[in-house]
């Protein structure tokens, strides 16, 4: 069996607004559009994914928050409606998700072997979080591949941003071992924004783009700093300054997604492909990808 590998890593923010704006048949509300800079970026990344041979999408989501260890989806199918608890007016999405349980169990076992507290989630009534659904829908609207969802252990809340970084890195290394042993070709997804301070009011028409802007300039400056460093391949440095960024911008990287993915990919020193940046209800959202294959790596924006 050939050694498994990560064929792409994606920073894929999950504001439900982008699915709402797409008007897919799975989502109940109707929109007049909005947030095109993000959606068009997602469209382009989704087209790239179509040209990549892969078996599974593995996503770490901050909207499955666990305080007791790291959990993995452990049943083959989840069919339900996902209603966003924050934006139920925008996201009521009927989903039918296939899970690669074999890979999930392998990751669970590898993480446990590395000393990480773990749990398989086997309750058939469990509702898959909307972070997973939004990121996966935008990357693969046909849902043609199975997924694995990994919960976000809230070590930032319980300990510190630095401890989160260390634990997420350990999880990333364990996940990489499991992928290599599986022989599978895997796309990793860190499902989160950059700066994450929201407005606490919403426009009467949520997709009214005349109302959309970053929460404040400080958030924007931080976001641009991170995007520039990613362009320059400084992923190790980005992870090192994440604790400060999280402190300053309430960055959603606090859930461990980017730290986990960069560790799993061995901290790429090549340029990230940047697909878009836009604010959503004040938060800063960048879509980026890391392509280990130099022949297909490109400068997108």
């Amino acid at each position: 069996m050939a050694k498994g590998e990560i064929v792409l890593g994606c920073l894929a923010p999950h504001p439900p607004h982008v699915v709402y704006a797409e008007n897919p048949e799975q989502n109940e509300p109707f929109s007049e559009g909005g947030w095109e800079a993000l959606r068009w970026g997602y469209h382009r990344l989704a087209r790239k994914l179509k040209d990549i041979d892969y078996d599974c999408i593995v996503v770490l989501t901050p909207h499955w928050m666990t305080y007791v260890g790291t959990h993995f989806l452990g049943l083959e199918r989840f069919q339900n409606i996902s209603v966003d608890p924050i934006f139920p007016n925008l996201f009521r999405y009927h989903h039918d998700i296939q899970v690669d349980v074999e890979l999930a169990e392998a990751m669970h076992d590898a993480a446990a072997e590395a000393g990480i507290i773990t749990k398989m989630m086997r309750n058939p009534d469990f509702r898959v979080d909307y972070g997973t659904i939004v990121s996966c829908h935008m990357l693969n609207p046909e849902w043609s591949k199975p997924i694995v969802t990994i919960s976000s252990n809230r070590s930032t809340h319980y300990y510190s941003n630095e401890v989160m970084n260390e634990q997420a890195a350990a999880l990333g290394e364990a996940v990489m071992k499991a992928i290599e042993a599986s022989g599978k070709r895997v796309v990793l997804v860190a499902s989160h924004s950059l700066s994450h301070r929201h407005f606490v009011t919403e426009a009467p028409l949520p997709e009214d783009m005349s109302r959309e802007h970053i929460y404040n300039h400080s958030q924007y400056v931080w976001d641009m700093k991170i995007v520039q460093m990613l362009r320059e391949g400084k992923t190790k440095e980005v992870v090192e300054i994440l604790p400060e960024m999280i402190e300053q911008t309430m960055a959603e990287a606090e859930g461990g997604g980017l730290s986990w993915m960069m560790a799993a990919m061995g901290y790429p020193d090549y340029p990230a492909e940047i697909y878009g940046y836009q604010s959503v209800i004040g938060t800063g959202n960048a879509i980026a990808a890391w392509d280990p294959n130099e022949a297909t790596r490109e400068i997108v924006l």
Binding site: Y67, G69, H71, S82, P85, Y158, H198, T201, N216
Partner: protein
Amino acid sequence: MSEEPEIVLGFYVPPHPHPLLAPEQNEGWGRLREAFDTCRQRIEETDADLLLIYSTVWPSIVGHQIQAHPKPVFTHVDDDFHFLGSMPYEFRMDSEYAEKFKDSCEARGLHARTVAYDGFPIDTGSVVALKLLNPDNRIPACIVSSNVYSNRAEQIVLGKAARDAMSELGKKVVVVVVASLSNRMFTEHIDPSDDRIHSAKDDEWNRKILEFFEDGRLEDISQLSRDIHGQIRVSKVVAYKPAWWMAATMGQHNNYDGEVLAYEALHGAGGAVIQLTPAKGGVGDKEFDEDDVEYYHGDRSVLDKGML
């Protein structure tokens, strides 16, 4: 319309699913369940016509969300404790009160909205409270969220808005706050028989807060919220808010008969079932120097001042 709302009882209950799903697995969880059952009986003995829940585990961002679906039906599973089982529910909500509460919030400057969507994810704490305190849906209920960015002023105004709506509709109300005391859980899976409060410090603080509750000193606890947050609350949100809301909703005083029906560990967190009954006499003679708030003015635009 009466000027002062009629609040017949107040309860402070924990958000964890253990008393509902696994009371037999740990003696303490069983005692919490018995305390819930006692509260249920006492609620049934009242002629309350609304059960209003403030849940610390229903976070909101866009203002304050108020559950208004007349009959929400779903099967809920907890993110952490999914292995304890599922929580199927069908509740009866007071949509009229929900709408009035929202209007009252807006009249006091708060951003608020009702939610009434099939499949909306009602949080673990609210599901546990409603299934154990009101299992037959005898009393219609309402649930209000906890805004992640809100702080003292906003919470107090939110409580006053809840009172306004009660008064306008002439409701007799049972107020329920869903919150832990200390909220630090063990970060590893434990044998249920090994459960205990996470640390001696958390336990000591919890017991001090329980003394206040037993003396009916709700307003004093409200005034101590910032200290409580700093000492025994994991910094998931900006502040320990439930006492602010509960005190503002029940009337900002210390005139209660307090009873701690149970205090136990829930995977390390402090879980207590507490009853407050409005009474004539009270404890304490303090006045406080933090200003009372009637209207919420929103952001103060600090960031826009002094810009170059």
